[in-house]
Subunit: 356 residues, 2 copies
C-alpha cells in the first residue's frame, strides 16, 4: 500500500516455437532504426550450440592457397566495416499465404535491423588466397541436429557464390549495436549478408570452406528453395535476395478507430537498391497517394520509415493498402507468389479497420 | 570469451495492443495449472489507473441497509475463500471467426488460471444489508477513459445479478498465488466471478453499489453483448457464462513432424459444470477417440488437461480436431456462433499438421 506505481506496457518477442527457438520481433510496436538485441527476432533451426569460447578459432580451408586459422583477436585487429542492414527471415509473413503452408507461422515480425560491425569476409579470403576454379564459399555454423525429413545429423551450413562472398559488405561480424554479438544471435562470429534473406547470415561460425562445385546442403537444396507447385518440385529455384516489401505498423489490423485524423505509418524495404516510393490506398485500391518517406538518404540495406496523414470523417469499414516500389522498379505485387514452403511473401500490404 | 552459456528459450506475453495494454498468455507453451502472474493475460479497456494506495477504501453503497466503507485491513480480517479458476477473455479466439470481426485479434491465449484468495462479496453485503427490491450489484473499477463510440468519459463498471453476486465463490480477491494481486491484475482488490467470462471480474475496485434497476453501462449494454446480425442489433443478448471449449497446446498448428509417436495435448474448460469428455479425431472428424483427462477430480472452475498418444506411420497432411463436452452435456459445436463483436468462440478446435 505504498505510493502509486505507473506501470508501462512493453512488448516482447512473440513466440512461434521454443525448441528450436523461433520468436518474432513485435514489429508493430518497434520505433527507431536499431532494434535492441532483446527484441531482435530469433530464428533457429536447431538447439543452441555449446561453444568453448576460450578455444574459439575460425578455420578457413578448402580451395584456398594457404589455409588459415584465425582467432577472434586476429579478426578484431583487421580493418573493420560497419553495416546497418535489414535482416529478414525468408519465412516472414508465411502465415499470410492462401492456401496456408506448413512451417512456423511467422506473421510480420520475422524482420529486424541494427548495426553490425565486423571484417569483410573478402579480407580473410585475401589472406588465404583462393584457388582458380573456386566457385562458392561455404559457411558452416556450430548448430546442428536432426531434420524431420532426413536421417543423418546436419550442421547448419550455407554457401554463397564467390561474387557475393567477396562483396565488401559481406562481413564476419563480431559486434551488434556496439556490443559483442549476443550469444543467441551468433556470438562470437556470425556472417552478415546484406540484401539476402536471413538464412544466409550463418550464426556461430565454425568454419569457412572454399569449394569448386555447387554445395548441396539441405538448407539450400531442400529448404530455402521456392517450390511453385503443390505436388512436385518442378521449377524450383533458390531463395536469395529480399523482395521489395512493407509493413503497416499503425493502425493495427482490425482496429476500431474514431473519425478524425490518423497517422498511418510503417516501414518498407528491399534487397537490391532502395525504396523509391510508397503508395497508399484507403479505398481498397481505387485511388492511391504517396506516403511520406522519412529517411530518403538512399542508404542501402536499411528499411525506410514512411507515414501518411489520413483524415476520415465517414464511419464505416476501410481497407488500407500499401505498395512499396524500389529503385529497380520492383513493386509489391497484387497477389503473392505462392510457393510450397512459404518463402518471400511480399504481396501488397493490407489491413482492415473500422471507423465508428 | 569466458565459459559457455546455455541459454534457455522462454515464451513471453504476446502483444495485441499496448495502449491500452492487451497481451495474450503464450498458452501453447504453458505447463501447470497455476500461471505465473507475469504470464497471465492482460486485457485492459483503458490506461492503468493511478491509485493512492495509502488512502484506499472500498465503499459499498446504494440500496443497502447501512452503507459501509472497508479498508483492505478490514477485508483481510474476514474469513477468506480461495478459488482456483479459469479466467477467459470473452474475445478469446476472436481471430478465428469467419467472416473476421473487428477488435483485438485474440488467438488462443486470452485465458489464464491461478489461485485467487479473498472474501466472498456476499460476506460484505451481509454486513451492509440489502434493501428489498435490490436486483443487481454494480462493481466499478478505478480505470476510466474515452470510448471510440461515445463522447463522455466512462469508468469500467459491470453489474452482476443478485444471485451471482451472492454466490459464495464470487469473491473480492486480494491475493493471487499467495502474493498480493499484481498491480496490473487489479491490486489491491479485484472481483473474481468464476464461470463467467473475464469482463465480469472487475479490477482495481473503486466501489460496489446495490441497485434496483438494470445497470446500463456501455460495458454491458454495448460491449459484451452477442450481436448475431452483421447489420443490426436484433436478437442481441449479454455475454455471461464461459462456453465449453478447448485448446490444443501440442502440436502447433501447421507444424511439420516425423512419423512415429506424438503426444497431442491441451486443455479443456467450461463455465457451468466440469469437463466430462474430450474427443479427438486425426482424420478430419471421420473417427473419434477419447483423450485421457488428467485431473478428473471434477473440481469446478478449473481447466482440465488432456492428452492423447498418436502413432502415425503414413506421411501426409492431417487435420486434428478436438471436441470437449461438459457435465451439462454441452459440446463444442462444429461451427462457431458468429456474432458481430466476436465473443465466445468455441467451435471444435482444429489444427493442421504435416507428417514427413
Amino acid at each position: 500500500m505504498s505510493s502509486a506505481r505507473y506501470p508501462g506496457a512493453k512488448p516482447s518477442l512473440i513466440v512461434r516455437k521454443l525448441h528450436p527457438e523461433n520468436q518474432e520481433t513485435p514489429i508493430h510496436f518497434i520505433t527507431g532504426d536499431e532494434i535492441d538485441h532483446k527484441m531482435f527476432y530469433r530464428r533457429n533451426h536447431f538447439s543452441y550450440p555449446t561453444l568453448t569460447y576460450s578455444n574459439y578459432w575460425l578455420p578457413i580451408n578448402g580451395s584456398v592457397v594457404s589455409p588459415r586459422i584465425f582467432s577472434v583477436q586476429d579478426i578484431l585487429k583487421l580493418p573493420s566495416r560497419t553495416i546497418t542492414a535489414v535482416l529478414e527471415c525468408a519465412g516472414n509473413k508465411r502465415s499470410l499465404f492462401e492456401p496456408k503452408v506448413f512451417g512456423e507461422q511467422w506473421e510480420n515480425g520475422g524482420i529486424s535491423q541494427g548495426r553490425w560491425k565486423g571484417v569483410p569476409l573478402r579480407t580473410l579470403l585475401e589472406l588465404t588466397g583462393i584457388q582458380a576454379g573456386a566457385t562458392e564459399v561455404v559457411v558452416e555454423g556450430y548448430d546442428y541436429g536432426k531434420r524431420t525429413d532426413l536421417d543423418n545429423i546436419y550442421t547448419y551450413a550455407r554457401s554463397l557464390p564467390l561474387e557475393k562472398a567477396l562483396h565488401p559488405d559481406t562481413i564476419i561480424a563480431y559486434a551488434y549495436n556496439d556490443q559483442p554479438i549476443p550469444f543467441k544471435h551468433g556470438y562470437p562470429l556470425r556472417l552478415i549478408v546484406p540484401q539476402w534473406y536471413g538464412m544466409a547470415s550463418v550464426k556461430w561460425i565454425k568454419q569457412v570452406s572454399i569449394v569448386d562445385s555447387p554445395f548441396k546442403g539441405p538448407f539450400q537444396s531442400i529448404d530455402y528453395m521456392y517450390y511453385p507447385n503443390k505436388e512436385n518440385d518442378n521449377n524450383s529455384f533458390p531463395v536469395t535476395t529480399i523482395n521489395v516489401n512493407s509493413t503497416i505498423q499503425r493502425p493495427l489490423n482490425m482496429e476500431v478507430l474514431d473519425t478524425g485524423k490518423h497517422i498511418i505509418k510503417g516501414i518498407a524495404w528491399t534487397g537490391k537498391g532502395f525504396i523509391s516510393k510508397v503508395e497508399i490506398s484507403t479505398d481498397f485500391g481505387k485511388t492511391w497517394s504517396y506516403a511520406n518517406i522519412m529517411n530518403q538518404d538512399q542508404e542501402r540495406y536499411r528499411w525506410f520509415s514512411w507515414s501518411y496523414e489520413w483524415v476520415v470523417l465517414e464511419k464505416g469499414d476501410y481497407t488500407i493498402m500499401v505498395k512499396a516500389t524500389d529503385s529497380h522498379n520492383q513493386s509489391q505485387p497484387t497477389s503473392p507468389f505462392w510457393n510450397r514452403k512459404g518463402y518471400g511473401y511480399n504481396a501488397i500490404t493490407k489491413i482492415k479497420i473500422r471507423i465508428e
